[in-house]
């Protein structure tokens, strides 16, 4: 059973960008494209897609308005597209699945589709949710000609480095040929969190969090390293940190 997708964007090239990337994934079927809010509303009612990609800024009816008029039960999963981000909060109010900044990064796009794939069984109600992969205990990394097992418990953070990922563990770094979002799926979500397109952090490593004016945040880890947390991951991160007992309460919260 494929996930049926509709793309709503007033710019043909922007629709093409989504269409081309979508075509690389098997489980998704494009059933319609719309160039404005009014025809999109009619189209969603007629086609009943499972997932919509919606551009937020469109002439006439905005993407958020298209979604807002639909009753929550009939609202498809939504991935918002925006060039200049000031809509994140509204997006979360509408329980959008994800939102992507233009120009869209391939990995972020794949990740959004992965979210849709995981959320889909819960929505359709017909199938049992796919069993989550049990968290890995070790990562095996190549160091020269030998293979080293790095215990996951020692991993402090992972950074994307092009097609590679760099593991930071106990003051050392290891290079792995694996994408960040595949690694993320092998980690315990209670301990590790994605904070940015290019980084995963172990929650108890976070020593300081300072919100920025654009709703991103800077994190300072216990070893002094400073890294960026982007706003699309912030709500989940804040929630996780609040539940996490080790996090010091000295963070500034003047958001």
């Amino acid at each position: 059973m494929n996930i049926r997708v509709v793309i709503i964007d007033d710019e043909p090239l922007a629709r093409l960008a989504v269409e081309v990337r979508l075509a690389r994934h098997g489980a998704f079927e494009l059933v319609g494209q719309f160039g404005d809010g009014a025809s999109a509303s009619a189209g969603i009612a007629a086609l009943k897609p499972d997932l919509v990609f919606v551009d937020v800024e469109m002439p006439g009816k905005s993407g958020l308005e298209v979604l807002a008029v639909l009753p929550p039960a009939r609202r498809p999963m939504a991935i918002l597209l925006t060039a200049y981000d000031s809509f994140a909060l509204q997006a979360f109010e509408l329980a959008a699945l994800d939102y992507l900044l233009k120009p869209v990064d391939d990995e972020r796009f794949d990740e959004a589709l992965e979210r849709a794939r995981q959320a889909f069984p819960y929505r359709s109600g017909s199938r049992a949710p796919a069993l989550a992969v049990p968290p890995a205990l070790h990562f095996s990394v190549r160091a020269g000609s030998r293979t080293v097992l790095v215990p996951v418990a020692e991993v402090e953070r992972i950074e994307a480095d092009g097609d590679y990922a760099t593991l930071h563990a106990g003051g050392k770094t290891w290079l792995m040929r694996e994408s960040l979002h595949k690694l993320a799926m092998q980690l315990d979500p209670r301990q590790f969190h994605r904070v940015h397109r290019s980084s995963i952090v172990r929650l108890d490593m976070i020593a300081e969090l300072r919100p920025l004016t654009n709703r991103d945040a800077m994190l300072r880890l216990r070893d002094g390293s400073v890294l960026r947390a982007s706003r699309s991951y912030m709500p989940a991160l804040s929630e996780a940190l609040q539940q996490h007992a080790h996090f010091s309460t000295q963070q500034s919260t003047d958001l």
Partner: protein, 344 residues
Amino acid sequence: MKVETPLLVPVLAALPVCACMVILGLPAASHGYIVAFRTLFFVACLLWLIPLTLLQRAMWRREWSWLRMGALLLPLTYAMAIVNALLGQSLGISLGMESGYRWASLARGLDSCWLALIAFCAVHAVAVYYLSLQQARLHLAQAQSAARDAELRALRLQVNPHFLFNSLNAVSALVSSQSNREANRMLACLADFLRATLTHDGRHEHALADELALLDAYLAIEKARLGERLRLTMKAGPDLLGTVVPYLMLQPLVENAIRHGIALLSAPGQLDILVERAGERLLISVQNDGHKRLHEGSGIGLANVRQRLHHLYGEAQEIQAGWRADGRFHVQISMPLRSMQAAP
């Protein structure tokens, strides 16, 4: 020096003069007719102050010299005092104390009126002079700070386009070589950096966290370009993310470190950014690997940062750059430690 002063100034200048006249009249308070004469002089003087004020302001506006003002004001106030004396005689006649005008004694006993008018003119002139001097100084200071602001703005803008075109060029190269994924990744990073800089409100300083976020967005582009060849640490001491640093100060230094240092190496190069506290000072250091001879003469970014630091902190800052014994290029900035909350 044509600076307008408020009309409150002549009123304030008249106050001490009037007070003197009242105090001088006090001993005669028991003699009814003297009080009447004094009151007449007092009111007449007060009325004279109005044309005097207007005249002085007009002369001031036309930028007359002190000498010319004095030459006009002395005979004028004398004439006013004569008129006062004339008024006094007619009061005497109407009270029945005098039988007629005594023209010969008209010029006698002018001292109190004339001196009062002269005193007023002098106080008024000095007050106006002092106030306009103050305002002129203020304008000068404002003009200087505006000029400094414009210069800082220009220096800041020097940084951006340079890097923007380099990045676009890199994207173009990736597209030409059909490295679509890399081109896309780089465009996303570039958009990130632009979003971060476009939200800037024009201030010359911001929090270290914002500066490091900008730097991180920039470094993402360089990482996309250089891949494994760029090894990087970015560290800060505890509780420093809220301290004040100049806007976009680190990016030109790091760009230098990469373009003139690491990008020219065949082996992977290390770049270390470290922010620490030393008492009441903030220490920022950028260190990179590189070849010594190639780095000489690469100074636009460094000169730019040096100038901006000087404009912002004068002698309270220090920036040192050069090759050290460890074979790495070091840039070390020492500047006052100030927290963002203290100066919102």
